[in-house]
């Protein structure tokens, strides 16, 4: 019984942690959207900033991946 409650809590926690991935989606969308709106204003400067955009995407996405990791840890490791 007690183990069941722990497992239930772990699953609920995993589900809640998954919400964080939505945040990562917002972040990546924000990064790329800003890049695009800037690039359309000044296309000549766009090529030089592609690497920066990918770094930004990577940072934004890393946090979503962290939440995914937390979910997995709760599911399988706790």
């Amino acid at each position: 019984m007690e183990g069941d409650v722990v497992q239930m809590g772990a699953y609920i926690g995993a589900g809640l942690a998954s919400i964080g991935m939505g945040g990562a989606a917002l972040g990546v969308g924000q990064v790329v959207g800003s890049y695009l709106s800037g690039a359309l204003r000044n296309p000549s400067a766009a090529a030089g900033q592609t690497a920066t955009m990918f770094i930004g995407i990577a940072f934004a996405e890393a946090l979503g991946i962290f939440s995914f990791l937390v979910a997995l840890l709760l599911m399988f490791a706790v």
Binding site: A51, F54, I55, I57, A58, A62, I65, F66, L69, F76
Partner: protein, 235 residues
């Protein structure tokens, strides 16, 4: 999660550090693929490249330019190191996408080793090149004086989080992609969901091909960024 199990190639038994496992198999395949792409295809040294040779040249030029742009001219010395990381991650990611393959980069042990290698080598390089001047990367000169200690604290934390995020980003992306495909494959046992499931797997697979490349690119470019910090610690 069975697809991530490490198993010995020959027989059963405990997995010691030297046991040839499926990790070994897929890493050897990675070496062979890289050898075929970069060594065999260029063996003719043609001025007018064949198809495979132009791919090798494309990869070379891509990474070379990235190192030069991001890490600066003096970062070009470390180009083979970065090229090794990029080729390993890229080829392993792509090989891992073959059905029933074993994706070694989805294991945190693997990516964490690479990330720690990058972290340690970059840190040692920074101290070796600049001595304690390397600590300047934590002390932001442009910020107002009262803010600097706080910023320095944040910078220190973010510096030490680097290897963690660096490794988990890659492993997490690969693991997530494979797990999502597995989830959709699990749905396929129900007959009337199967077509949807197969279509979804196809779409996710295409996304994963993209992600495989982007993660290799991101890992490499972040390595370049860290390298730049080590070479030029003054903001």
């Amino acid at each position: 999660m069975d697809q991530f199990i490490v198993s010995p190639l020959f027989g059963d038994g405990p997995i010691a550090w030297y046991t040839p496992t499926n990790v070994t198999l897929w890493m050897v395949l990675t070496i062979l693929a890289i050898g075929a792409l970069l060594v065999l295809s260029t063996s003719r040294r043609a001025i007018i490249p064949s198809r495979a040779q132009s791919i090798a040249e494309l990869v070379y030029g891509f990474i070379y330019k990235m190192v030069e742009d991001v890490a600066g001219k003096d970062g070009v010395r470390y180009f083979p190191y970065i090229m090794t990381l990029f080729m390993f991650i890229l080829v392993t990611n792509f090989l891992g996408l073959i059905p029933t393959a074993f994706a070694t980069t989805s294991h945190i042990a693997v990516t964490a080793t690479m990330a720690m290698a990058v972290f340690l080598s970059v840190t040692i390089l920074g101290f070796w090149k600049h001595g304690f001047g390397f600590l300047n990367i934590f002390w932001i000169g442009q910020a107002p004086l009262p803010l600097r200690p706080i910023l320095a604290l944040i910078e220190v934390i973010s510096y030490f989080v680097r290897p963690i995020s660096h490794s988990i980003r890659l492993a997490g992306n690969m693991m997530a992609g494979h797990a999502v495909i597995k989830v959709f494959a699990g749905f396929a046992v129900v007959i009337w969901i199967a077509p949807v499931s197969i279509a979804a797997i196809t779409a996710i697979y295409a996304l994963e091909v993209l992600v495989s490349f982007i993660q290799a690119y991101v890992f490499t470019i972040l390595t370049c960024v860290y390298l730049k910090d080590a070479l030029h610690p003054h903001h």
